[in-house]
């Protein structure tokens, strides 16, 4: 200790084995998982996990006691020559070697011998003595005699210190020069009750002044920090009743003090040095009075001087407003630190100090007020299979669901029409002309009216046809590309579609509640569609116009009109009794995205043109990123081109799923029929109208690309030029065909279909995503048919019936309006 002060760096005492120095760049070792950890015995052999008896491991020697000869009981042998010594069997005799090891049941540890032990009291010994004292001659006597004649022993440390010149009460260390540090005998003195640790220090400093210069003094004794671990479950600072003290064994403190302060513990460091003077037997202390065996009564009461208490009212502590309150000592001493003291008024425990900063008080907010009509129960709408309940119930359910789901957020900006947006934004409806027709010039309007009337006439003529012919015509016109595509045939086309829808839906078979709901995501639209279907069923020829929302713009109406007609034709009630074989799919495909390959092929038309010109190479080649499987690379002896990548094949991305209605074009000329009303929309469009020549309107695949073509490079310019040449040739060809009889229509249709191949996206959108939609629709139709079939009681003639709908059915009103709540 002394030496360490001089060259402090080199004289460190190392204890234990030092850790291996960490090497930089060393990979961090993974911790060994439990199932891979092995256990070895002291000879380095692996131990097999066995049973619970030996702590889970095999005991060796076939689970015997661990020696080859096994366990042989010792026999008692005593003869005249050799008297058997008395054997006291200790528990250790029956233990295995392992039990003495570190983790055994009786670990052997290195213990300081009594010579070197400190004078700290052995608690175990004390306890044993206390127990044995109960059975002693004098009950309650804890070996007074033994203690009396105990040899005067001091620990080896104290001995050594004494030899080095240390005296009791001095501090340890080199001698100081100037001031004498007065030995703090108070520190070891035992105070009962509330005591003043280092309370008299200030007074000591005063009489140090006469110390001569050449005299050195021993350093002040330091009170070491007590590192006694807390092992009991008492509160901090509370000691509990020590039975030894309570029953008279207490040798140190005069009375039972449940709350110890520093000096109480520090005194134990120096043991019972002064225990001899203070020894008293029996119970003593303030509360218990003087015992019978007490001969001195000097110290029977707890030493408590009046100086511990305030004697003057209000004089000493003017600042804190706690007049008249007798504070504990700590409080009075630390009164300068008023900030702390105001916060905490109790006694501060051992080893604790007051926090210098006040912790922020957490604000606790009250729970929110629930609305008055709030019910903590959620009601799930039952899922009803529409094919099993009666139509009225089903319809009611549907209607109510539609009403409810109006509150639900809409799908997107584009799925709303202008009136919906207006409602959401809270705008007032526009006052101006709602239709672009009003903006048109009178000439244009006249022309449009003309067209309309022509269409009506044609419509009539179609109606007059016998139904088989009618249907054939409708089918032909719907599938064949429109050869002569000026506005009036377009209108015819549209009207024939309408007619087809009418044919399909009119008649007693259809029931709106069972039909497929193509616009289910937009309830208002669906309601309009239902209305339209219902009117169709009644044979209303003006069903379409009357069921559209008049507040929408002309363009939106036109679009919706188109969609409704097409939806009606597509999802027309089919006649089959297959419905019982199918059920509707319950889970709708809600995801609005579909996985497609990230890299899309370039325009096929470009390539076809290039092929025609035999310009293979850059134009016809697409290069994509493609990830081969790792194993495939291995088998081909090729390094993996994308070592880190986990994708296989072409990289995929999610893309918005297209609406089915973006692609489903029943007729090739639907484009034209849509163009009819929309072309007249802008006021100045009369100039554009003449451009709607058959050549342009003929859906040539060069059209769009021709428009967009920019002078990218000479090659592409050249390409586009040749393209336009080709398209002109084709249009001429088409025009020639148009001149010929309409019987060629089917031929041309075939050709056209072969030529104009829709883009692949279309197929993907149809076949990849909407398959369930389709199936559900068909099953729905089927289920509806099944409902109706018994009522009509026409066994197998279903096909004939739909093919030839009775004309009268179109005129007669629907039998029961109350069945159709959608109208109201």
């Amino acid at each position: 200790n002394m030496a360490s002060d001089e060259d402090s760096d080199e004289d460190f005492v190392t204890y234990g084995t030092p850790l291996e120095p960490l090497e930089e760049d060393e990979p961090i070792r993974k911790p060994v998982p439990v199932h891979e950890q092995t256990v070895k015995d002291e000879k380095g052999r692996y131990k097999r996990f066995h049973g619970a008896f030996t702590g889970g491991f095999s005991a060796g020697y076939f689970n015997t006691v661990g020696s080859q000869e096994g366990w042989t009981p010792s026999t008692f042998v005593s003869s005249r020559q050799q008297k058997a010594e008395r054997q006291n069997a200790r528990p250790e005799d029956f233990m295995d070697e392992e039990d003495f090891s570190e983790h055994g049941i009786a670990p052997r540890e290195i213990v300081t011998t009594e010579d070197f032990a400190s004078e700290r009291k052995d608690q175990l010994k004390d306890k044993a003595r206390a127990v044995s004292s109960l059975a002693a001659l004098i009950p309650g006597d804890t070996g007074l005699l033994e203690e009396l004649i105990a040899p005067a022993r001091s620990s080896i440390g104290v001995e050594l210190l004494r030899k080095m010149g240390w005296k009791d009460g001095q501090g340890v260390g080199p001698r100081l020069k100037r001031r004498q540090r007065k030995q703090n005998t108070d520190a070891v003195k035992v105070h009962g009750g509330a005591l003043l640790p280092s309370g008299s220090e200030e007074s000591e400093d005063e009489d140090d002044e006469f110390a001569p210069e050449n005299v050195t003094f021993a350093p002040k004794d330091v009170v070491p920090v007590d590192f006694t671990p807390k092992v009991d479950s008492h509160g901090l600072g509370y000691r509990g009743l020590n039975p030894l003290q309570a029953l008279g064994g207490g040798s140190e403190s005069a009375h039972i003090n449940l709350f110890t302060l520093q000096s109480d513990r520090t005194s134990s460091l120096f043991g019972d040095r002064n225990s001899g003077q203070k020894r008293r037997g029996g119970i003593a202390g303030q509360a218990f009075g003087v015992g019978a065996m007490e001969n001195e009564d000097a110290d029977i009461y707890h030493k408590d001087s009046m100086s511990n208490y305030d004697t003057v009212l209000g004089g000493e502590e003017p600042g804190d407003g706690l007049y008249g309150w007798t504070a504990p000592q700590q409080y009075t001493r630390k009164k300068n630190d008023s900030k702390r003291d105001v916060v905490y008024l109790g006694r501060i425990l051992d080893g604790f100090t007051l926090a210098s900063q006040v912790t922020e008080i957490k604000t606790v907010y009250p729970p929110p007020d629930l609305p008055r009509d709030y019910r903590p129960v959620h009601y799930f709408r039952p899922v009803v299979d529409l094919s099993t309940v009666s139509p009225i119930v089903a319809q009611a359910l549907q209607a109510s669901r539609g009403h409810l789901s109006q509150d639900a957020p809409q799908q997107g900006r584009h799925s709303l029409d202008s009136s919906q947006r207006r409602d959401m934004l809270g705008e007032t409806p526009l006052q101006g002309p709602s239709s672009v027709f009003e903006l048109l010039g009178s000439k244009d309007r006249e022309r449009l009216n003309e067209i309309r009337s022509v269409a009506k006439e044609q419509n009539k003529s179609v109606l007059n046809l016998s139904s088989a012919e009618d249907r054939a015509a409708v089918v032909a016109s719907s599938t064949a590309p429109q050869p002569d595509s000026l506005t009036s045939p377009a209108k015819t086309q549209a009207s024939s579609e309408t007619q087809m829808a009418l044919n399909a839906w009119s008649g007693p078979t259809a029931d709106a509640s069972k039909t497929f709901k193509p616009f289910q995501k937009n309830p208002q639209k669906q309601a309009r569609y239902d209305l339209y279907i219902n009117k169709l069923k009644k044979g209303d020829k003006e069903a379409l116009e009357s069921s559209l929302d008049s507040s929408m713009t002309e363009w939106e109406r036109g679009r919706e009109r188109d969609e409704f007609v097409r939806a009606a034709v597509l999802y027309k009630p089919s006649n089959s009794s297959l419905s019982s074989r199918f059920t509707r799919s319950k889970n709708e495909d809600d995801t609005d995205s579909v996985e497609v390959t990230r890299d899309q092929e370039n325009d096929v038309d470009d390539k076809q043109a290039a092929v025609k010109m035999k310009m293979f190479g850059k134009l016809t080649r697409d290069t994509f990123e493609w990830h081969p499987e790792k194993l495939l690379c291995k088998r081909f002896n090729v390094p993996d081109p994308y070592p880190g990548s986990s994708t296989v094949g072409m990289p995929k991305i999610k893309r918005d799923k297209y609406s089915v209605f973006n692609f489903l074009t029943i007729t090739d000329s639907s484009h034209v029929s849509r163009e009819g009303p929309s072309a007249s929309k802008p006021p100045g469009s009369s100039t554009t109208l003449p451009h709607l020549t058959p050549e342009v309107n003929k859906k040539s695949r060069w059209d769009k690309t021709g428009k967009v073509s920019e002078p990218k490079d000479p090659l592409s310019a050249f390409l586009s030029e040749t393209r336009s040449e080709v398209s002109v040739a084709k249009q001429i060809e088409a025009g020639a065909k148009n001149q010929t009889d309409s019987s060629h229509a089917s031929e041309e249709k075939e050709e056209d279909e072969e030529e104009v191949r829709p883009p692949m996206d279309l197929f993907k959108a149809i076949f990849a995503s909407s398959s369930d939609e389709k199936s559900s629709s068909s099953s729905e139709e089927d289920s509806e048919e099944e409902e109706v079939a018994p009522s009509t009681s026409e066994p197998i003639q279903i096909s004939a019936e739909t093919l030839n709908p009775p004309v009268s059915a179109q005129i007669t009103p629907a039998p029961d309006i109350s069945k159709v709540p959608g109208i109201i």
């Binding site: 035999k614 190479g617 016809t620 080649r621 994509f624 081909f636 390094p639 094949g649 072409m650």
Partner: protein, 317 residues
């Protein structure tokens, strides 16, 4: 003083009929040389696969195990294994010597048009009418393909494998070149449904025949067309095309009963070999010698550059 370069010999074309083999297995769907060209494999419509000796024209072995007509066959580099594909949607790996089925691989959704080993016969690649090419591992016991190439949008009609490239012709009118080393897929648009694709022997070009009765030679790296060969008839059948042993000529079957030989560089028709009256379904060129196999209806014909007796003499000498 330098000698003048020896004048290159005029390549000899296999135009002499050496032998006709009656296969007795229904229509011959495909005829293939084995790896070294000493044997012939024929795929029959009677579900059988037969191995013949070229020189004697004798039947050596019949492999039965397919459930429907066999459509294509390939032999491994060491001639120890065969792979064949069939309309029964399966691919079979055969042991040549024992004639036993080593592995029967199911997975294709439609009939399997073409099959090919890779260079070391560690992978079998099969192309099917279902639009996928499946890569089967011959080393492991797995019955699932290593990878499925489903980029084609229509049936696969033909495929070839080089060292690290897969050349796949599809009915969607595109030739796809999968480069494993680069991790790239090159798609060459031809337009018309592809019936057969080939690598040139030097590996720099690809040959593809399509249903517009045209055979095109494309540069492999850029996709540019180097030559176009037409004159034959190929409108409905899946007909084979190939290059001659020295890459001097382009050969194609034809539906008019001929085999057409075009000069590769000039693109001119060199020879129109009359094989028979029916459609020449399949052909195969010897890997090293000017020798050709053609399949028509139920028989296979072996063609050589020299008549039979001289060929015999030369083989003796």
């Amino acid at each position: 003083m330098a000698f003048p370069q020896p004048r290159p010999q005029v390549p000899q074309l296999p135009q002499h009929l050496l032998r006709t083999i009656e296969c007795q297995q229904g229509a011959v769907r495909a005829v293939r040389f084995n790896a070294d060209g000493n044997y012939v494999l024929t795929c029959g419509s009677d579900k059988s696969l037969k191995l013949w000796s070229v020189s004697r024209g004798t039947l050596l072995k019949t492999y039965t195990g397919h459930g429907y007509e066999v459509l294509d066959v390939d032999s491994s580099y060491d001639n120890s294994q065969l792979c064949s594909c069939s309309s029964d949607k399966t691919v079979i790996l055969w042991d040549v010597a024992s004639g036993q089925v080593t592995r029967k691989l199911r997975g294709h959704a439609g009939k399997v048009n073409c099959v090919q080993f890779n260079e070391e016969a560690t992978v079998m690649l099969s192309g099917s009418i279902d639009g996928t090419v499946r890569c089967w591992d011959t080393r492991s016991r797995r019955y699932e393909p290593i990878q499925i190439l489903d980029e084609a949008r229509d049936g696969i009609s033909s495929l070839k494998v080089s060292e690290h490239e897969l050349l796949i012709g599809s009915v969607d009118g595109r030739v796809r070149l999968y480069d494993l080393r680069m991790g790239q897929l090159h798609v060459d648009f031809i337009g018309s449904p592809i019936t057969c694709v080939c690598f040139s022997r030097d590996g720099q070009c690809t040959l593809s025949s399509s249903l517009d009765s045209t055979v095109r030679l494309l540069d492999k790296s850029s996709g540019e067309m180097l030559g176009e060969y037409s004159g034959h008839v190929n409108k409905g059948y899946k007909l084979d095309c190939c290059l001659s042993d020295k890459d001097t000529h382009v050969l194609s079957c034809s539906e008019d009963g001929h085999v057409y030989f075009w000069d590769l560089v000039e693109g001119s028709l060199t020879l129109k070999l009359p094989v028979g009256k029916a459609v020449v379904q399949s052909l195969s060129f010897h890997p090293t010698e000017p020798r050709l196999l053609t399949a028509m209806e139920g028989h296979v014909q072996v063609w050589g550059a020299e008549p039979e007796d001289t060929a015999k003499l030369s083989s003796v000498c």
